[in-house]
Amino acid sequence: MKKIALHSLISLIVASVTFGQTQQQVRNRIESADRPEASNPILSSKKSSTTDNSNSSDSGAQRPVILKKGGISTYFGYDSKYFYRSNPLATDGKLKQQATGMWTNTFYAGSGLGVFDYSDSVVTPYIGGSWTTNEYVESEIDGFNYNSTGAYALLLFQYGNGWSARAGISYANDRSTEKDTEDYKEFHPNIGIMKSYSINDSATAIFDATIGRHLSESFVIEGLTSGTKTASEKELSNTEYAASYAVNYNWNDLLITPKYRISYKDYDKGLNDGRSDLSHDISLKAAYQITEAFKLSVFYSYSSRSSDGTSISYDYKSFDTGAGLGLSARF
């Protein structure tokens, strides 16, 4: 009887340790996951198709156009990326750990609900959503495959001096494809500002800053404690302050975009109470627009995170490099 009980206890301990490790890895994966930003399809959809090969005159060329009544617009698209990720589970230590190929497929759609003049700005409300499949190529970690769902609603205020402000809320959800469990979900109310300006005829710089609260829920290993802290399903909740600077450089038919982003996250729930993360992301992307609706791209990105305030180290570094294709349409 004792043997059975001991065996059961050992099995339970081994199982819980194994489960704990896997859970921790899933959590690491969750925290390193890229989620589509609501503003990306909105910003990328604002492209002028005006040709400028007309001759100048004092009163200019007066070409009639057709405008949509109310300014309601809709866009949808599909992005597929195949890339190498050096540290997919965001593990502390070396840059290259359980490196794998990844294939992601994103379907997205959204709508601009009108264009309104408000004081010295133009206001556009947007809603949209996306669904992404995330597959690891390496069989050792393909148990971590997951699908992401995202949705957002935001108000975008564009000002004449090039600044824009936004306020919105987004929702994100990760679901394991293997276990069909919801690993993570969050609501993310946020505000942000953005300034774009021309550096020269072929380059535009974009500065962005945002503050948001991630109201998260994820699975939790029940009963875990650390000092006075107890595990909580909300312990991935945090307040994030982030800023980025990017340059869109047109070179022949290529759009080259170097970008740097810095983020500071302040956690205040459960075992993560007192944790703070400082993350840096540097990326370089080159996109070739084959047609108005179809583009190819190659990219490289490097991410690092240093974390304080917890007994477990959440430091990690990783890089991605790969290629993607995108289809989009706008009405």
Partner: protein, 246 residues
């Protein structure tokens, strides 16, 4: 003593002389940028008109006719209002809020809400609001009212009323004047090709608002016609020039 100081002295001398000779002195405005040959013509009653070439910083009196040669243009400042005259144009500033365009084109830009009276040989209209307005005379004696950006109301004596929006061209025609058809025009193309906007060293103070109007139009854009709007030779005809594939 540089050239600009001499100009100030010259203008001051004219004012002092006019004052002591009992000649009425009209309110004036000054030329801030002159490109090419711009002349002012002043009616001297029983004598032959006084013709003077306008230089930078010259003062021009209300009611003077301002004429531009081919390829010439100039900018004037009346308080906070900016007035630009296009090539091969003739205009007169009646008072600080009233402009008469005999021929050619002009641009008026003002940040604050103002009542602006615009007239041509046959037509006139009043714009109440703020904006950056391109005015182009037409052969029928009327004019095209083209706001790069603006908010307000355009009204004729005939009580025709039109809400002004950036990029919406309105024809003003006839006497008593009425408002003709309105057309949304490609603002980005207009900005790139309009020398009244882009051939000056200093951008207009309203440039931010113009950018916003372009942004707003881009969001609403559904399509573009392969055509350009031309002159209005009569009240019933408007030239439309087609281009591209038939």
């Amino acid at each position: 003593m540089n050239f600009f100081s001499l100009n100030y002295l010259y203008n001051a001398a004219i004012f002092i002389a006019a004052f002591f000779l009992g000649i009425p002195v009209y309110a004036s405005f000054n030329a801030t940028t002159v490109q090419g040959k711009i002349e002012s013509i002043r009616d001297a009653k029983d004598q032959s008109p006084i013709v003077k070439e306008i230089k930078n910083d010259d003062l021009i009196q209300f009611h003077d006719l301002i004429c531009s040669a081919k390829g010439s243009r100039a900018e004037f400042r009346l308080d906070s209002t900016v007035l630009r005259i296009g090539s091969l144009s003739v205009l007169s500033v009646v008072d600080e809020n009233s402009f008469f365009l005999h021929s050619g084109s002009m641009l008026i830009s003002f940040l604050e809400k103002t009542e602006i009276h615009i007239s041509t040989t046959d037509s006139k209209a009043t714009f109440t609001g703020s904006g950056t307005i391109l005015v182009e005379s037409t052969k029928n004696g009327g004019f095209k009212f083209i706001p790069f950006e603006g908010r307000g109301i355009l009204k004729t004596d005939n009580n025709d009323i039109h809400e002004v929006k950036g990029g919406r061209l309105v024809l003003v025609l006839g006497d008593p004047s009425q408002l003709g058809d309105a057309y949304d025009v490609d603002l980005m193309l207009l900005i790139k090709t309009c020398r009244l906007l882009n051939s000056y060293p200093e951008p207009l103070e309203t440039f931010g608002r113009i950018s916003l109007a372009v942004y707003s139009q881009e969001l609403k854009l559904k399509g573009k016609y392969n055509a350009l709007i031309g002159d209005a030779p009569t009240d019933k005809n408007l030239q439309i020039w087609a281009f591209g594939e038939k």
